[in-house]
């Protein structure tokens, strides 16, 4: 909405999601440790572009996903 002085005022939820922050080495190291993965600095340096590249690629899938699209990995008894 516009206030009495003509300024933009944000009320409620933004229509735009927060941008994805790039992963840092420290963040990757913390994520690895949380999963009991003991990675050297050399491994983390090699992993960072792979993981970050993967995140960007997968983020691009959002454009095509409507709520009614279910995953193909379904549990079925019959």
């Amino acid at each position: 909405m516009i206030d009495s002085r003509g300024g933009l005022v944000n009320r409620g939820t933004s229509h735009y999601p927060a941008p994805m922050e790039p992963l840092t080495m420290d963040a990757l190291r913390a994520l690895a440790r949380a999963q009991a993965l003991d990675c050297s600095d050399e491994e983390l340096a090699g992993l960072l572009p792979l993981v970050e590249g993967g995140r960007q690629l997968i983020a691009g899938l959002d454009e095509a996903l409507r709520p009614e699209v279910e995953p193909t990995s379904e549990f079925r008894l019959s």
Binding site: A36, L37, E43, I58, G60, L65, E70, T72
Partner: protein
């Protein structure tokens, strides 16, 4: 293979002679090609003697009686090392055969040995730092990639070290080496062939299939392998047709959809020209060729990554935590990267799959088969990391997998057959994609094309 099977059944040649000739050829040539990791000489000769005795006694010939085959070293073989191309499993000896191995042996096939591959099947280049990377037989002077991950299968069949082999295909690992090595390879529909006893890369994307010289040979092997398996709950209960009977040589009236955007338009000029010529050949044979496109194919890379990476990591998690030094650095990093894919992203990949299946089904409602290049390039040299296509540089890895991966995601059957050679004498592969469980039509088109052309009949000079 088909002709060999006929000659064996007619007792024109003995299984012992055939197996011994292949063992001699492996001994003479494979030091260079590095296609075999384990040669099963004594068991193969014993099986050949038993097959010969059966034929002498006039017992009904099995469809593959006395035919030698190679197995990608991903297929469990009872009592014989199954390494997955790795150091981690260097001493793993299974106590049971994979279902498809049992079925092929019951059909009379004789296993010559276990074939080299990209470590744990995780690569389209076919590299192996532990056992040596197979040498593409189509270039005697320069070490070129065979493509992967079924690189040993590609090299062995191309060099005449076995008439047919099993590969596996998670993102293109049958079709890429088939394309780069001038072979006919088939990735069947997901669930058409059992994965029981096959070391997994990605449970929901792995496919099992044959690599041979001709589509007819692939039909012969598929007929022996396909069908429901209680050991693999993802296998289909749909009846298995007679694939060989489907090879009528006829394509009159068949509708062929030529995939332009994303596919032909991203291929090197020589690959594009060869695939377009193949389409014209089918047209001259009575098929009607129209343009086709897939609206969601640009999402295949992200969706496949979202599925493969965490599934592969899940399988390897324990070894990565205790034996990481035994992995090659390249595969180790890519497996570890799967640990960082959140569950919500994995499910995004599986949701996109539903759209991908519908997209390919839609394209195949307007056509009986789709055509595309199998790979945008011919075989790169070892160590090449980038290739130039249309004036732009692209990574070799993602280029090799670009045209094949979408059909692992959707699960539709897809074959690669030779459709020409580059000016440097390297094979070019044509990909033929069909409706789910319609391997018969895919093989019929491939076989009809091979009756009208002779690309599949050429032999690499390095294996002369």
């Amino acid at each position: 293979m088909t002709e060999l099977a006929r000659r064996l059944a007619a007792r024109e040649v003995s299984p012992v002679e055939v197996v011994q000739a292949h063992l001699d050829r492996i001994a003479a040539l494979d030091g260079r090609f590095r296609s075999y990791l384990t040669v099963m000489a004594e068991p193969a000769l014993a099986a050949a003697r038993a097959a010969e005795a059966d034929l002498v006694r006039g017992r009904t010939a099995k469809p593959l009686a006395g035919v030698p085959i190679g197995l990608k070293d991903l297929y469990c073989t009872r009592g014989v090392k199954t390494t997955g191309g790795s150091r981690v499993l260097a001493d793993f000896v299974p106590d049971e055969d994979a279902t498809v191995v049992s079925r092929l042996v019951e059909a009379g096939a004789i296993v010559l040995g276990k074939l080299n591959m990209h470590e744990f099947a995780y690569g389209p280049e076919g590299l192996n730092p532990h056992y040596g990377t197979p040498w593409n037989p189509w270039d005697a002077a320069t070490h070129r990639m065979c493509g992967g991950s079924s690189s040993g299968s590609g090299a062995a069949v191309a060099a005449g070290l076995c008439p047919g082999a099993l590969g596996s295909d998670t993102g293109g690992s049958i079709r890429i080496p088939a394309s780069l090595c001038g072979l006919s390879g088939l990735k069947p529909t997901y669930g058409r062939v059992s994965r029981a006893g096959v070391l997994p890369l990605s449970w929901s994307l792995d496919h099992v299939g044959p690599m041979c010289r001709t589509a007819a040979d692939c039909a012969l092997m598929l007929g022996a392998m396909a069908g429901h398996d209680p050991r693999d709950p993802t296998t289909s209960r749909a009846p298995v047709p007679d694939y060989r009977a489907a090879l009528t040589g006829e394509v009159k009236g068949l509708r062929v959809g030529l995939l332009g955007a994303f596919f032909l338009e991203s291929a090197s000029p020589e690959v594009r020209a060869a695939v377009e010529a193949a389409a014209r050949t089918l047209e001259a044979m009575g098929a009607s060729v129209v343009g086709a496109k897939l609206d969601t194919v640009h999402l295949a890379a992200g969706a496949a990554l979202a599925v493969v990476a965490p599934e592969a990591y899940a399988y390897h998690e324990a070894w990565l935590k205790t034996r990481r030094a035994d992995y090659g650095a390249d595969v180790s990093l890519r497996l570890l990267a799967g640990a960082f894919v959140p569950a919500a992203d994995y499910l995004k990949g599986q949701r996109i799959r539903r759209l991908a299946v519908a997209d390919v089904d839609r394209a195949l409602a307007a056509a009986d088969v789709l055509l595309a290049p199998a790979t945008p390039i011919a075989a790169p040299t070892l160590g090449e990391r980038e290739v130039e296509i249309g004036g732009q540089r692209h990574p070799v890895r993602t280029s090799l997998i670009r045209f094949t991966r979408p059909f692992n995601l959707s699960g539709h059957p897809a074959a690669s057959v030779p459709c020409g050679f580059t000016s440097a004498g390297l094979p070019i592969g044509l990909q033929i994609i069909g409706r789910a469980l319609d391997e018969a039509t895919v093989l019929r088109v491939a076989d009809a094309y091979q009756r009208a052309t002779d690309w599949h009949g050429r032999r690499p000079p390095a294996a002369a």
